[in-house]
C-alpha cells in the first residue's frame, strides 16, 4: 500500500496552498476532497441558466504577497480584479471609500487623513501577520527565570479588548464613515460594535483578494493547478470517515468506502469541531481536549441571496460615484442597527430588517451573466444558523429573501422588477454544503480569547495539536480569518519543520 508523507483534508484555498507548499518541499502529498470539485468556499456555480455567481462570498480576504508570488494564480488562469470602491447607504448619508488611498483621502474631506492612517495601520498589521506566517517561532526551552507565555502573540492583538465603535471613534470623528467601516468589516458576521473585543474585526475586512474573472471557482482552479504541478495528488469525491490514531500518533485515514490510506501526517483544513469531534474517535481524544473543543464557540451569522437580473441595477449614488457600484454596497441604517442584529442573532430570531451588503459582480466581470443582464448578490449579516422558532423552512427562506430585496430596492429603486430568479443560501446550507459547523464562515467566534495567538487554543502553536502528526490549518487556526490561505500555509511550514527535525536525527 502506498504511504504518503502528508494527507491534506479539504481542497479549499487553505488545503491547496498547504499542499502546494508541502509538495514543493518534496513531500509525497495527497489532498482529499469530499466534493467532486475542488475549491471549498472558493467556488462558483450556475444558479440560474446563464447566470453564475460564487455562492458563499464574492471575494475572499487578501492573499499575502509572498504566497501569491509563489503560487502565481494569474499564471494558472485566475485574473483578479479588485473593486475600485465601496459604498455605504445609511441614515447618516451615503459614503464612498475608494480603494486608492490618495483618492480616498481626497473624497472623504476632513476625515480623509484619519481614514488613510487607519487603513495604513490595518495594512501594517496584515503585513506583520504575513511575515509571522512565513517564519516559525523557535521552540524556547522552559526557564524558571524567565516565565514565557505558552502562546505566541500575533501582530494585531493590540486591537483586541476594545469595542469596535470606540476603536473607530478614537480615530474618526465622522459618524458616517465610522458606520461605513463598521458595516464593511462586520459584513456577513454577527457581532455588536458596542461590545468589548469586537475591535479585532477591523482587521478582517470581508474582501481583499479581488474578484477572480469567472468567479471564485477560477481562483480555486488556479490553486488546484498550482498544487498539482508542484506534485501533489488531489483526489476528489473522497469522503473521509475518520483519522486513524495509534497511541496518540496519526497513522492514516479511512474513507467512507472503507478504503484505508496510510500517511505519516495529516493536515486538516476543516474547522476545529469537524476535525476533532467528527473525524477522530472519542477514545483517541483525551477528555480535556474533548471538553475544550466542545467549548470552542462558533458564531455563524451569514446568509446569501443570489439574484439573476434582467438588467443591471441603477444605484441611487450612480451619478455621484459610478465606480462604487462595482464594489460592495452596504445597507445599514446605523451602528445601533448592527448592535440590534447581534441581539436578534443571539436570541435566534429572524427580524424584518438586517444589515445587507449588495454586490453586482457582473459589472466587473460580464462573463457571469448573459449579455445585457446582471448578477447581484446580497450578503446578510446576523442570520442565526438555528432559529428559535423552528427550522429553516420555505417561509423563513422567503422572509430572508425579502430582507435582501427590500435592501436592494432601497439602494437601487426598481431593481425588484428586474429580478428573474433568486437562490437563497442560509447558514444551514453553508454548514451542510461547505462543511462549516453552524455555518460559521470565520471558523469560530472572533472574540479575543479565540483569535490570533489564542486560535484555536493558546498552547496549540502554529497549527500543532495534542495528537502527534495531526495539524490544523483551516478556518479555526490562526491567523484565519484575516488573510486567505495563511492558516494552511502556516501549518504546512510547521509540519515541514517537524518532519525535517526528525529526519536529521
Amino acid at each position: 500500500m502506498e504511504r504518503y508523507d502528508a494527507a491534506v483534508i479539504g481542497a479549499g484555498p487553505d488545503g491547496l496552498i498547504a499542499a502546494h507548499r508541502l509538495a514543493s518541499a518534496g513531500l509525497k502529498v495527497l489532498v482529499l476532497e469530499r466534493h467532486e470539485f475542488a475549491g471549498g468556499r472558493a467556488i462558483s456555480r450556475e444558479f440560474h441558466p446563464g447566470f453564475r455567481a460564487s455562492p458563499y462570498a464574492d471575494e475572499l480576504p487578501a492573499i499575502p504577497q509572498d504566497i501569491f508570488s509563489q503560487l502565481d494564480p494569474p499564471r494558472h488562469g485566475a485574473i483578479l480584479m479588485p473593486a475600485p470602491a465601496s459604498a455605504c447607504l445609511s441614515d447618516a448619508g451615503t459614503t464612498v471609500l475608494y480603494a486608492d488611498l490618495a483618492r480616498r483621502a481626497r473624497a472623504a474631506g476632513p476625515v480623509g487623513q484619519a481614514l488613510v492612517g487607519l487603513q495604513r495601520d490595518i495594512d501594517g498589521a496584515h503585513k506583520a501577520m504575513a511575515s509571522r506566517v512565513r517564519e516559525l517561532a523557535p521552540d524556547q526551552p522552559r526557564s524558571f527565570l524567565r516565565p514565557k507565555l505558552q502562546r505566541l502573540p500575533w501582530p494585531g492583538e493590540e486591537w483586541s479588548g476594545k469595542p469596535l465603535a470606540d476603536a473607530l471613534a478614537e480615530r474618526l470623528s465622522d459618524s458616517a464613515f465610522k458606520l461605513h467601516l463598521a458595516a464593511h468589516v462586520l459584513s456577513g458576521t454577527a457581532a455588536s460594535p458596542y461590545l468589548m473585543g469586537t475591535a479585532l474585526h477591523v482587521l478582517k475586512g470581508h474582501e481583499g483578494s479581488g474578484l477572480p474573472r469567472g468567479g471564485l471557482g477560477t481562483l480555486a482552479q488556479a490553486l488546484l493547478h498550482a498544487a498539482r504541478s508542484a506534485g501533489a495528488v488531489v483526489r476528489l469525491g473522497a469522503d473521509i470517515a475518520s483519522i486513524r490514531i495509534d497511541h496518540g500518533k496519526v497513522t492514516g485515514l479511512v474513507l467512507t468506502g472503507g478504503e484505508e490510506i496510510q500517511s505519516r501526517t495529516v493536515l486538516s483544513t476543516l474547522d476545529l469541531k469537524r476535525t476533532f469531534l467528527g473525524l477522530i474517535a472519542w477514545s483517541d481524544l483525551p477528555e480535556a481536549v474533548q471538553r475544550r473543543v466542545t467549548q470552542f464557540r462558533m458564531a455563524g451569522g451569514r446568509a446569501r441571496v443570489l439574484f439573476a437580473l434582467d438588467a443591471p441595477p441603477e444605484f441611487v449614488f450612480a451619478g455621484a460615484a459610478p465606480e462604487a457600484a462595482l464594489g460592495s454596497v452596504h445597507m445599514v441604517t446605523s451602528l445601533d442597527a448592527l448592535s440590534r442584529s447581534h441581539d436578534s442573532w443571539r436570541a435566534g430570531l429572524l427580524p424584518d430588517v438586517l444589515p445587507v451588503t449588495l454586490r453586482v459582480p457582473s459589472l466587473l466581470d460580464p462573463m457571469l451573466a448573459p449579455i445585457g443582464k446582471a448578477v447581484m448578490t446580497a450578503t446578510i449579516s446576523g442570520v442565526p444558523s438555528t432559529l428559535v422558532d423552528g427550522d429553516w423552512n420555505k417561509e423563513k427562506r422567503t422572509s430572508l429573501a425579502k430582507i435582501a430585496v427590500a435592501a436592494a430596492e432601497r439602494a437601487a429603486p426598481g431593481v425588484s422588477g428586474r429580478m428573474l430568479a433568486a437562490a437563497i443560501i442560509t447558514p444551514r446550507e453553508i454548514e451542510t454544503e461547505l462543511g462549516l459547523t453552524e455555518g460559521d464562515f470565520d471558523g469560530g467566534d472572533l472574540s479575543s480569547d479565540q483569535a490570533l495567538g489564542f486560535r484555536p487554543f493558546p498552547d496549540w502553536r502554529d497549527g500543532r495539536t495534542p495528537l502527534r502528526g495531526v495539524y490544523l490549518g483551516g478556518p479555526s487556526a490562526a491567523p484565519s480569518p484575516f488573510l486567505l490561505g495563511t492558516a494552511g500555509a502556516h501549518a504546512a511550514t510547521r509540519l515541514l519543520a517537524d518532519l525535517k527535525i526528525r529526519r536529521a536525527r
Binding site: 507565555l149 483586541s160 479588548g161
Partner: protein, 525 residues
Amino acid sequence: MNAAVPVEHEGWDAIVIGGGIGGLIAAAYLARWRKRVLLLEARETFGGRAETNVLIEGVSAPVAAEIVYALDPQVIRDFKLYQRGLRYVERAMPLVALHPSGRHLELSHEFFAARSAIRKESVADARAYIHFRRELFAFARRMRPLWAPPNAWMARRNPGGSVASISQEFALSSADTERLDRAAHSSADAYLERWFDTDALKTALAFDATIDGVGPEESSSALMLVWRAAQECDGTQGAAGQVEGGPGALAKALATVAREEGATLRPMSHVVGIVLTKGKAAGVTLDNGMTINAPIVLSSLSASQTFGSLLPADAQPFGTLASPDMPARVASAKVLVALNGLPPFAGLSRHALRGRLVVAERPESVSEAKSASLLGILPENLVVEATIPTIADPSLSQSGLHVLSLRIPYLPAHPQAGWTANRDVLQKRVLSMLEVYAPGLSDRIVASAVLTPEDFRVRYGAAHGRSNLLERLLQPYETRIRTPVEGFYLCGADAEPADAISGRSGRIAAMIALAETRDAGRTLS
C-alpha cells in the same frame, strides 16, 4: 494675574478638590506628612458617592454604593479606623442567585457551605468549585502588587500594561502568566464556562463582573472577576461586606481622621477652575472669585468634571481616560424601598437574606439587559442586585422598618424618552419583577425612592464610558493618577481600575504627589 482678584495667602502646600472618599484619604495622608492641606468640597457634607441619606423619617439608606468590598486595608491600618469607629456589621455576604421556581442557589462566602450548596445542583461543579476558588484566589493575590501597591515606588513601576511585561515586572510564574493572559482576553462567561455547567452558578459568579456596566459576554470581563477576587474586606479575601451606618458613616469617620491629622476641610466651597502657571498647577479658583494658591492640587472629582470644566482646553487628559466625546451608554440606577417588615422572599433562609440577592431570570438576561441598554431601551427583563442593609445594621432604621435596596446595573444612560418619563416605568418594572420572588412585597411598601442614572449625574457628575477595561485593569495606578499638568493629580473613583469604594487612589495619589515634590526639590538643590 489680575490685581482685582482676591487671593488667599495662607501658604497651603496642597489643595484637594472634592471631599469624596479618595479626596479625604489623600488629604489625611498629606496632612500626616506635615503638609498644610486644604480640602474644598462643594456640598455641605463629605463623602461624595459614599453617602447615607434619610429615606423617610427614622430610616436611612445608602444612596449610591453600599457594598464595601475593596476598601484599602492599608488605609484602615494607617489611620487605625477600627479604633476610630469603623465597624463591619457584615463581612462575608452570601451571593444568592434567585430562581423563579424557588430553587435558589445560595453561595455562602464560606467555602464548604458554598460547595455543599453547589453539590445540590451538580456534583461535578462542586468538585470544580474547589479548584476554581483555590486557583482564582491564589492567582488574584499574586496580582496585588499591581492592584494594591503598598507604596509610591510600586505604583510608579510601569510595566507598560501588557501581560508579558506585567509578568516580567512582578515576577509571575509561567502558570500565573497563562492565567493572566487568559483572563485578560476572555469574557467572564467563557472563563466560567471552562469550569462549570450549572447555569445558576455561572450567572451568580459572573455577576461580580457587572461593575461599571461591563457585560459578562464582553472580552476581558474575566479580568474583572480576578480584580474582585484580589480585594479584601476586613481581612477576608474576595468577600463583600457592609459597614455600620453605611458608606456615609465611613465618609464621616474619614473626615474626622483627616481633621485630626491636621487637614483643613472646607465645605460649601465650589471650585471652578485650576490656576496654571507655566503649565504647572499653582492653585484653584472658587466660584466667589477667590484664588487659593498651592503647588500641589489633587482632584477627587470624576475625570470628565475635572478635565471638562476645571482645566483649560489645551491641557487634555491622556492615558486611560476615555475622551469626553464617548459618554457612558450604560449606567446603573437604584430603587430604595422602605418596608414594614422583612421582604417575603420565598424559600430563603435568614442568612441568605443578609446577602446579595441576584435576580436574572435566565442566564442570557444579563447580556440582553446590557444590549438593550446600549440601544437606549429599558430592558424587558431587568437584572437586579437586592440587599437588605437594615438586617445587619439596625442603626439605619430606628422605627423597625426595613430597607430593600435594589441596584440595577444595566440601564440606558440616556433612554429614548429621557429619564423623567421612564422613572415610574422603571420602578414598576423592578417591583413587579421582585413580586415574583417575594409575593406580597408591594403590600409592605411604606415608602420608595428611585435614583435614575440622570439623578446620579446631577448629584455626582457625569460618568465616563469605561470601555477600555483591559487598559484600566492592567496599567499601574500612576497612569490614572498623573495628569498632563505637573503638580496636578486625580485621586477619586476615576483613578481606580473599577468603580468601588476603595480610597486606594487617594492614598497612592498622596504618595505620588509627595514623592514627586521631593524629587523636584532634589533637582532644584
